[in-house]
Symmetry: C2
Subunit: 406 residues, 2 copies
């Protein structure tokens, strides 16, 4: 019997209990042993819930119990999760977590701690919910140099953008909708400002390139400025607007990373990733393009990934699963040097705007939406972010600027 | 240093040499040791090729060399691959293979042999080329009961169907096209008759359900009967025709499996898998829907998967990676009991055909393509294959019948 403790009895914690209940028999077969939840740590009480008999309020009960082999941290947030997880590793327990903040900030250190002690620190559920992506990156794409990793990593923003596109809603209505459906928090900033996606791409980039990518270094732009008018332009172009979290290694081996809304067309593998689904696109120098798709959040899908990690930890007691993520910092390319095409909308008299655009950007691709008047929209050639910034200063009445990935 | 031998210097064999050449440094880091190709087995000579110094013509040189830890079998076909692989395992060498015929037929036995000897038998490249699917099934989806696994597993037929759809080609022209592009063999039967996809879904089903699924038991229908007229009906429906290889566990826990062309709509995750790409859709009882996408064939993508398995074998010398695939046979549900909707085209006078269809199938959904006359087409409700067979006997002038997945 493998005894585990679950830290946090929220959505994911209760999902873990549920998954072990539903699929206990087949999980036992795969883990080679029965997985038993011995403790659940939570400050709250849950009167009437059968888990009450396992409930403890102090981490020490868990840390002090030599029977506990694996600790499952599903509390979220950096503290006290970090302290608890570090203590667990120091006390000889493997750790499984779904906590992206913790992994983005302390992943390298906690992996090292685990390795030194022949333990494991596993975090499949921290990115892409149920989608297998961490393990494939670590164990399947080992023959490749990763050239690009780009994900739709936040279900809330993808849902909002999908609804704006499908139902013609404006941002506020789509957000309110997402909140009503339980897909967005009351305070949606972490999602809509791109911070959630930023932490997730930091984790994926660290694994893909084997070095520490600090999330604070990643240029991050959310979707709050996207309007229903932008969506109309996307439609005319046969494109969609998606919040991309992206890391790309250039020819000079330098990596740039960013989170921002982009326009993509149907030939991009992430084009069909809609609603609350997530998708992760990986390009390797020999494998070419691969893509992983599934539920990026939700109680059971996320719990499925957590429990799969528990199974892996149970199969590897006393043996570290090697993960290459050095604490050495990867210096990202200055975002100002990165090239994109841009869709620019300018309010005002069309002929004047057109003349200005041509003067500043040379030959541009005009985009016209029949029902929209009083503005001029165009797509630039490939220019650096720096050039963009400089040139837009000379452009009167800029309404919106969106990066174009086609 | 880990010494390996490569059996077969064809497309994939030379790809393995190339991948180890291109990415040798990072592969060494991931494997924890240098991977060295000591021998290449092939009956042919390759004058002028630097691999000549490693070329051997007899398997015994490899089997007798205790320095060889891992044997890479990329010859294809059941024999002599089976004999060579079995001998290698009996002589204490782990085996990596890309050979779907070998794995579909002898997978369970070879896995057992490997397990008994603390060796590994790995075959990521046998299904879906470079797409990570075997390892995710074995190690990532371990918290789930798999309910369905459906793949577009053959790039050649997917290319043909895509070209028929995009360019309005008929089957023969699209096939000739595929042959000219090098995507189809001179003798295309294994691809277009569905045999290749059948072996691959047999492997995936065996892993998903943990028991032996014999490929001979899987109902298999190719794409040779699909015409450009069928494609026109698909378009009118907003659908595409895809060759699906599918295993589904019903509510009664019985599994049915089949390879056949089906009509799907844009809401299916495999809808956008076009050209030579492959996609594999998996539904689990807790994870929900996930999908894996990438190059299903090709020299470098396939070699990438082979080399990733070599890395895994190198990291697990002396330790078996547990794979659940019992040699106990899984009895599939009789295909006649399986329910589908069907698109049926009937030649002849429309009012007569319509009356007949209504008499036999009750309420049906009519499908009309403006430029097609002299035939009547309709989609049935959900009926068993048996009912379909019986009813079509009473229907005059049936032109085509295609299963519908929406």
């Amino acid at each position: 019997m493998i005894n585990i403790a679950v830290l946090g009895y929220g959505t994911i914690g209760s999902g873990v209990v549920e998954v072990l209940g539903i699929n206990g028999e087949s999980i036992k077969k795969r883990a080679g042993d029965q997985i038993n939840i011995k403790y659940i740590l939570d400050l709250r009480e849950f009167p009437g819930d059968p888990i009450m008999e396992k409930l403890v309020h102090s981490i020490d009960v868990i840390l002090d119990d030599p029977e506990i082999n694996i600790v499952v941290e599903v509390m979220g947030g950096v503290e006290p999760a970090y302290t608890f997880v570090k203590q667990a590793l120091l006390r000889g327990k493997s750790v499984v977590t779904s906590n992206k903040e913790l992994v983005a900030k302390h992943g390298a250190e906690l992996l090292d701690l685990a390795k030194e002690r022949n333990l494991n620190f596993l975090f499949e559920a921290s990115v892409g919910g149920g989608i297998p992506i961490i393990r494939p990156l670590n164990q399947s794409l080992t023959a490749d140099e990763i050239v690009e990793i780009t994900g739709i990593l936040n279900g809330t923003t993808n849902y909002i953008l999908s609804k704006m596109s499908e139902d013609g809603l404006d941002f506020d209505t789509a957000l309110a909708n997402a909140q009503k459906m339980g897909y967005a928090e009351r305070n949606p900033a972490a999602d809509v400002e791109g911070h959630d996606a930023c932490r997730k791409i930091a984790i994926l980039s660290s694994l893909a390139f084997g070095m520490q990518v600090d999330f604070e270094d990643i240029y991050t732009e959310g979707i709050t400025k996207i309007t229903d008018t932008d969506i109309k332009y996307a439609k005319v172009l046969g494109a969609r607007i998606k919040l991309f979290a992206s890391s790309i290694r250039g020819n000079d081996s330098h990596v740039h990373a960013m989170v921002a809304p982009v326009l993509i067309k149907a030939n991009h593998p992430l084009f069909s990733v809609n609603d609350v689904f997530n998708g992760i696109f990986v390009r390797g120098n020999v494998i070419g393009d691969v893509m992983f798709y599934g539920s990026g959040a939700g109680k059971l899908p996320t719990a499925s990934a957590v429990v799969a990690d528990v199974v892996d930890a149970a199969k590897h007691i006393g043996k570290n699963i090697w993960t290459i993520w050095s604490s050495k910092k990867l210096e990202l390319t200055d975002i100002n040097q990165v090239q994109h095409r841009f869709l620019i909308r300018v309010a005002g008299e069309i002929e004047k705007a057109k003349a200005e655009a041509n003067k500043l950007f040379g030959e541009v691709e005009e985009v016209m939406v029949p029902e929209i008047t009083g503005e001029y929209a165009f797509i630039t050639g490939s220019i650096t972010e720096q050039e963009m910034k400089e040139k837009k200063e000379f452009l009167d009445g800029v309404v919106s600027i969106i990066r174009v990935r086609f």
